[in-house]
Amino acid sequence: MKTAKNKLITYLFYPYQSVDGWKAISWGLGIQLLATLLAYFMSGRFDGFLDYHLVDNATLYQTAFDQLINVSTMLLVFGATIALISRGRNRGSDLIGLLLIARAPVVVLPLLNIGDFFRQLTPRLLADEMALSKLPSPAESFILLLFSLLALSIFVWWLVMLFQVYRLLLHKTGFGYTLLFLGLVVLAEYISKSLILLLNV
C-alpha cells in the first residue's frame, strides 16, 4: 500500500503514471491558469516556451496570451510529432492532458519573486555603471544564488517531466528519439518566441 509520502512523490514527479484523459486536461488547464495569474501578480511573463522573465508593466492580457502561445506551440509541436510517430496509439485526451501536466512545474517560477526582490534587484545589476554601492550585499548575493539554483532546478524538473511524458506516449527508446526530443524543444522555443514577438509584444 502506498504511503502518503509515496503518493506525494508520485503526484509531484510522476503524475502521468496515475492521471490521464479529461482529468489530466482539467488539472493541466487549471495549473496553467494558476501559473498565468501568479505570473501577472508577481510581475512576470512566460515570454517563450522555455522563458520566464520579470517585467515592469505586463498586462493580464499579455501574460495570458503568452501562455496561450506557449501551450498551443507545445501541443502542436510535441502532440503532432507523437501522434505522427505513434500512429493513433494514444487517445487524444491523454496526449493533450499529459503534455499539459508536464508543464505543471512552471507554476512555481512566479513564486520565486515573492516580495518583488528580483525585479527590484535586476535593474541595479544590469546598470551601465557598476558603482560599489550598486553591488549586491552578501545577503542579496546569497538569495540571488539560492533562487537562481531553484529556478534552474524548476526548469530541469519541467524538461525531465516533459521528456518522460514524451517517452510514455511514444513508448520507444533510443538515442534518435532523445535527439528528436531536443530538436522539438528548440523548435517549440523558436516558434513560441517568434509568435510572442510578432503578436504579443
Partner: protein
Amino acid sequence: MKKLPVVCPSCEAQLQVKTLCCASCATTVEGDFKLPVLARLNPEELNFALAFIKSSGSLKEMSALLNLSYPTVRNMLDDLIQQLQKFEDENGKK
C-alpha cells in the same frame, strides 16, 4: 505457492517439462514438453495478463483497477505482447 522455475539456474537456458504426475493416482508421464508461453511469464506479467482477461480486455478498466494511467497500462500491455512474441519465436525455432 511455489514459484515455477522456468530458467535453468546453471546455464540460464529455458527449462522444459520432463515429467508430469497425476496427484490422484500417482501415474507419471515422461517426455519432452515445452513450457507454454504463458507459463514462462514472471508473476507480475502473469497477474497482469490474468487481470486483462478478467476485465474483458478493457484497458480503461485495467487502468482503474491498477490505479495507473491509461498510457502506462497500454505500455505495460505492449511490453507483455512483445515478451509473448519473443517466447513464441523462441518456441518456433526449437
